[in-house]
Symmetry: C2
Subunit: 352 residues, 2 copies
DNA sequence: TTGAAAGCGTTACCAA
DNA sequence: TTGGTAACGCTTTCAA
């Protein structure tokens, strides 16, 4: 069948003014397109595109430019990102996971910084909550957006990575304790945190260490590796489940006395503060009877009495990491890059 | 000019098996499209779409369905969200602002919860950092994504709202102290926080109140209204700029003594903790000589000695708000809805 | 039950 | 310097 080319109702280009509005305005309530702009300016859609994108390969006369800009302004034209990226064949979307639970100021600050740094590099950051979907299903949902890069949470397997890469992602970067086949990896192995704490306490003569395990769901991702790290330091470990409230802290403090523990690694500074207060309230001397060490080096630790010993975690700046993502996107390396982000070091203060 | 219809290389539909792969596979490295699936399954693109979307208006034979599903799986086909929404004429994107600075656990927890709740309702949440752009320019950048709903930060003006609405946003919802013409508003007026604190302190006989103003940029959005609230309670106000470190806190503690202040509203619990520690370290009795009240009712306040008085802020659950967004999207109300989110009430403890 | 084709809004190539 | 046209990947109406 013979196709009839779409009717172009453009005015002959000799017309110096904008076309009469009634012929040019898009239907009421409809979002104006570049075709509407073209019609109103009396030029072709191509010309509109050239003008609005400042295409340097083509010279457009000044009067034409002006007419196009005017028309665009008058209609309140805004280009359509989806159409553009469909045409371009790629997006500037970077996918980031949303932590399921408030995950502490340190890590959420880190993610926030990274997000801003990516925005500054002109990426569109999409925070994705994978809700109920399992690994591969989540990967498929993500792939629909055709992200140019993905920062994948721990839990994404090699299959998921493959799905994302085949959907056009230039850089798939896992954030987690272990590298995943085929993907770049930003290693964040929290075992190092537990290990540092364990060594510190052992050096002070504690062979048996209580390890606070937050009961809050979702924190296991961090808590379990930290626990494992303490074990690997050679200490005997006693798990102390703890919810983030005073009542349970009082219970835990009692438990610590019963068990005769002399040292506790408290998951992070917030749990450490909670526990230390509960211990003090039962008349236990810190560090005399029980040594307490936290992690994350939050400000509050310095304000406690005794000052809280902690494990400082050195994370790279968001800017640095955004730069890495950008480099990986521009110049997709065939070899996955593996990088260890965690530097864990003990900051000894007065509580140990 | 006569256009030649694009070649359809589909096998005659009698073929029971998948077409030979060499004829069906997309070019190496290319992302498979529904056309590739159709080719491999030996059906038309329309059929692929019907099968993959479970279109109920059309009955497709079971064998055909199977062949399509197989082909899709074999190629690792994932639909292209941009193409789909281009065709559909709308997206499921909800835009949310990213706070520029770590803004406290309360608010960031609130945003996080909202984000998850929206994800669960099957929206694609895009966290947008408007970087250097001014209000309208930011609105234009946002409009390119054709979001179905926008949660706009304070700072978005009526013009920006208009731009977003004309770009097809069904619900533009401002988060901030004042309603914006044309948009729905979730009012969060932090003056109520300062007001509650001010009244509390005045009732305890303090007519002159020091108000901590965080030096950190970006917190002014919250700090200034809180300050104004204290003023509106009728108290005489003295501003106490403070950066979040011990050294400056020591200086501020000295300043408080010099000024002869007997009461301080410390912006939030974290600054309150910092300041209270500095006061105690200089031998000042809290609340005997100086009363201190914080805000946000964080856990840490309960762990301090004396226990920290605070202003509790009641925010609605993320789920509730997500439901509201969803309702506004489905049933775009002509009348902007205004809703006050802030409930501020003093929790008196031992520090005042 | 299936297929052809139009069209969503852009941009880029090629021709004038 | 400008304009026509095709193409990106998908859904859907209409026709067979």
């Amino acid at each position: 069948m013979v196709q009839i080319p779409k009717q172009q109702t453009a005015k002959p280009s000799g017309s110096p003014e904008l076309a009469p509005p009634e012929a040019a305005k898009p239907a009421r309530g409809a979002v104006p397109t570049s075709a509407d702009v073209a019609r109103l300016a009396g030029v072709s859609r191509a010309t509109v595109s050239y003008v609005l994108n400042n295409t340097s390969a083509v010279r457009i006369s000044e009067p034409t430019r002006r007419r196009v800009h005017e028309a665009a302004k008058e209609l309140g034209y805004v280009p359509h990102a989806a159409a553009r990226s469909l045409r371009a064949g790629h997006t500037r979307i970077v996918l980031m996971p949303t932590p399921e639970v408030p995950v502490g100021p340190l890590y959420s600050g880190f993610l926030n910084e990274l997000q801003w740094a990516l925005s500054r590099l002109d990426y569109t950051v999409v925070q994705y909550g994978s809700v109920g979907l399992g690994g591969d299903e989540a990967a498929r949902a993500w792939a629909e957006l055709r992200p140019v890069a993905v920062l994948a949470p721990a839990g994404m397997g090699p299959d998921g990575v493959g799905i994302l890469q085949r959907s056009g992602a230039k850089a798939v970067i896992t954030l987690g304790p272990d590298p995943v086949t085929g993907a770049h990896a930003l290693l964040m192995d929290h075992r190092e945190v537990g290990h540092a704490a364990g060594e510190h306490l052992r050096a002070r003569g504690h062979g048996r260490i209580g390890v606070v395990m937050p009961r809050q769901e979702g924190l296991d991702t961090f808590a379990l590796p930290r626990l494992a790290g303490v074990q690997e330091s050679g200490a005997e470990v006693v798990r102390l489940p703890l919810s983030y409230d005073e009542e349970d802290a009082a219970r835990a403090a009692g438990q610590i006395r019963e068990l005769g523990l002399t040292a506790v690694f408290a998951y992070n500074d917030e749990y450490a503060m909670l526990l230390m207060r509960a211990l003090q309230d039962t008349g236990t001397d810190v560090p005399g009877e029980v040594a307490v060490i936290g992690a994350d080096d939050l400000m509050l630790g310095r304000l406690l009495r005794p000052r809280l010993s902690t494990v400082r975690i050195d994370l790279p700046s968001g800017e640095e990491l955004a730069g890495l993502v950008d480099r990986l996107v521009r110049d997709p390396a065939p070899e996955p890059e593996i990088r260890d982000l965690m530097g864990a070091s003990v900051v000894p203060r007065e509580s140990t």
